[in-house]
């Protein structure tokens, strides 16, 4: 049971719970700057939990992953997004969530769903921190929900990156990280993706004069 675990393990569970909460906060956050702020906080939580896992299970190479995620997810990408938002003068723009209650309930459903999907995996291992794998899947799915419910390009990018966060968390808690090459490769991909997203903001704005991607609707299957 829970009380038989060390405080480190309990803290990992706590961080996992907080990461889920941060995903929900992102879902409900309509101000772009705050959204980015919550995303950065998620990056910090992620990095902290990775470091904790490294400490409790004695996997020194996870410290590198923790550092990597701190720099990339906690600092670099949020800062980049922040600067883009300021530079493009978007900080007052709102990306209102329609039917916030519905979205939240949808999110809760996704959490239940990912719990259900991951149950067979959880039952495999005596490690109780493995319970968090359903949290990581939930973060992935919540990121997807965020992308579906938002129309603003910046919000969609945040969703995209939080999906990456979820995947990273999954790797940390279930397998104590991926092999180093793979992890570096993924980090590289994420970095390049972030840069390309930055370029895209400018492209989108110059083509539709806004970052509301709902207005990108020239290509559809509906007959004109």
């Amino acid at each position: 049971m829970l009380d038989e675990l060390s405080y480190y393990h309990q803290a990992i569970l706590h961080l996992a719970a907080l990461i889920t909460l941060s995903s929900f906060l992102m879902l409900g956050q309509s101000r772009l700057l705050r959204l980015i702020g919550v995303f950065a906080a998620q990056g910090f939580l992620l990095s902290a939990s990775t470091a904790l896992v490294a400490q409790t299970h004695d996997f020194p190479h996870l410290y590198i992953s923790a550092l990597l995620s701190l720099l990339l997810k906690g600092l670099l990408i949020p800062m980049m997004l922040y600067r883009l938002v300021m530079r493009m003068n978007l900080h007052r723009e709102m990306d209102t969530v329609e039917h916030p209650a519905g979205v939240m309930m949808g999110g809760a459903t996704l959490v239940v769903f990912s719990y259900y999907v991951c149950l067979p995996i959880v039952k495999l291992s005596p490690l109780m921190t493995l319970n968090t794998i359903s949290v990581s899947l939930a973060v992935v799915l919540l990121g997807m929900l965020l992308m579906i419910t938002r129309r603003h390009a910046v919000a969609q990018v945040v969703g995209f990156m939080s999906i990456e966060n979820g995947l990273f968390f999954a790797a940390v808690v279930s397998t104590m990280g991926m092999p180093m090459v793979v992890e570096l490769g993924i980090a590289f991909d994420v970095l390049v993706a972030a840069v390309i997203f930055g370029i895209f903001f400018f492209h989108i704005r110059s083509s539709i004069d806004s970052l509301d991607v709902d207005r990108l609707s020239k290509l559809s299957e509906v007959e004109e």
Binding site: P120, A171, V182
Partner: protein, 489 residues
């Protein structure tokens, strides 16, 4: 092994060289040269594998067996011919002012990056690197899709980026689960736990429950990349809005490589599970894509969208055939991968020229190709005939094989396939006929076009339809044995 390193190295050097090379004439030539090098190396590699059997690099990170080596050759070949085509095509685009020199330079560098990621996908033995390379392929091509900077192109690229990114994230989750399953099994050292060869050898000890979930995620992830319905939305847009050489290699290579990733995952899942579930999933998704895309062919207005739906349709068919999993079906699917790749890239090349000729991609504006420039008209006609599965082309042979294999194992599904093929056929031809034979609009003039790749491709497809060469048959046989467990012939 040197051949493999060279195949990977050539595009890497290509990226560096073409990124700094400002002179368009030179970079055009270099692009072709680098692709030629990889083609030669891949042929060399093919001979090696054919003679000596599977190759495993010293660090176990690269692995070549008869399944991926033939895809390497196919990739190198289509990459090479498309490079030939793109030099003329991009020159024309530059002349009419659609792109500038900087964009051109970027285009060539990105082309080589894309080739690099494709080869990495095919040759790597590490499921994690496979994912990284797959994502890399998106990153390399996404800015090419938006090369023209039109609102439509930007929209298509954004859709491509977002949908593929989200989709492929599922594949990473699957990969993590795979790693988890491997780590749970004591037989596997943790350093090798993501290597496909290790996983395959020890697949029987992997936990079936985890593998089940992992496979579903891998299928959904790489399936998005492959354009399986209902995750196909990005594909027609990305294909239609980018430069045509891009469409040719996306359709001819990227989709194949995504399918390759799925099949590799299925091989693991099959062995670990010992049930038909992975096969059923693939059959279901495949059949759905096949039928939906065949129906959607009728609704298209844009010529490149038309053929990208046809790509979805064929990918669906291959997925379905791999899903059946019998030696015959697998053989047919491998064969179909080849014929489709060759034909589809040839078609996109022709379509690109046709669009340049007419100055639009709208099919109701493209008329009378055969009168203005007979080569393009004939190329489009023959290519479409081939892709629709007319005898004596290779696609007919491979589709026929798939039908036979279906008849053997799931006779109830054959009518569906037949209907799908018929619907797709009608969908292609109702658009094709006026484009090729219609009244020539005023002022339509012939353009400079390089149709050698088209003819080479179509000739190859024709040859494959008439008879499968012995070495190719052997090749497919070996690959089939790897995937399905026994040979059909």
């Amino acid at each position: 092994m040197i051949a493999v390193y060279l195949i990977l190295l050539a595009p890497l050097i290509g990226i560096a060289v073409l990124a700094v090379q400002g002179d368009p004439d030179k970079s055009r030539r270099y692009n072709i040269i680098f692709n030629a090098i990889t083609l030669i190396c891949s042929l060399w590699l093919a001979v090696l594998v054919l003679l000596k059997g599977p190759l495993l690099s010293s660090g176990k990170q690269l692995y070549i067996d008869s399944f991926n080596v033939y895809l390497v050759v196919l990739t190198a070949f289509v990459g090479f011919t498309t490079a030939l085509f793109s030099s003329a095509y991009m020159e024309h685009e530059r002349e009419i002012g659609k792109i500038n020199l900087k964009m051109l330079r970027f285009y060539y560098a990105a082309y080589q990056s894309f080739m690099f990621t494709m080869f990495l996908v095919l040759t790597t033995n590490n499921m994690g690197i496979l994912w990284v390379a797959m994502e890399g392929a998106t990153l390399a091509t996404v800015l090419l899709v938006s090369l023209y900077r039109t609102p439509e192109a930007v929209e298509a690229a954004w859709k491509y980026f977002i949908l593929c990114g989200v989709g492929i994230a599922q594949a990473l989750f699957g990969t993590i689960l795979l790693y988890f399953a491997a780590e749970q099994a004591v037989e596997i050292g943790s350093g090798d736990a993501l290597l496909w060869t290790t996983l395959f050898e020890n697949a029987t000890v992997l936990n079936p429950g985890v593998m089940n979930i992992a496979f579903v995620f891998l299928l959904v992830g790489y399936g998005t990349k492959m354009g399986l319905v209902p995750l196909h939305n990005w594909l027609p847009d990305a294909h239609s809005e980018g430069p045509t050489p891009m469409s040719a290699i996306l359709s001819g290579l990227l989709l194949n490589d995504a399918l390759y990733a799925v099949v590799r995952s299925k091989m693991l899942a099959d062995r670990a599970l010992g049930t038909a579930l992975p096969g059923y999933l693939m059959m279901g998704f495949g059949l759905l894509s096949f039928l939906v895309a065949a129906l959607l062919l009728h609704h298209q207005k844009d010529i490149k969208r038309l053929f990208s739906y046809s790509s979805i349709e064929h990918m669906g068919l291959m997925t379905f055939a791999f899903g059946i999993g019998s030696p015959w079906a697998t053989f047919a699917a491998l064969f179909h991968m080849t014929t489709h790749s060759l034909t589809k890239s040839a078609i996109f090349v022709t379509v690109g020229h046709a669009a340049q000729l007419a100055g639009t991609q709208r099919m109701d504006k493209i008329r009378g190709l055969i009168n203005t420039q007979p080569m393009i008209g004939w190329g489009l006609l023959v290519g479409t005939l081939a892709i629709a599965g007319f005898p004596p082309f290779g696609v007919f042979a491979s589709e026929f094989l798939i039908l036979v294999a279906t008849m053997q194992d799931y006779p109830g599904l054959t009518p569906l396939l037949l209907i799908g093929i018929g619907v797709a056929f009608a969908g292609l031809f109702r658009h094709l006929q006026p484009m090729v034979f219609g009244v020539v609009p005023e002022g339509q003039q012939a353009i400079v076009a390089n149709l050698t790749p088209v003819m080479v491709h179509l000739a190859l497809v024709l040859w494959l339809g008439l008879s499968i060469p012995v070495f190719l048959g052997n090749w497919f046989n070996q690959a089939t044995q790897l995937i399905a467990g026994s040979m059909p012939l």
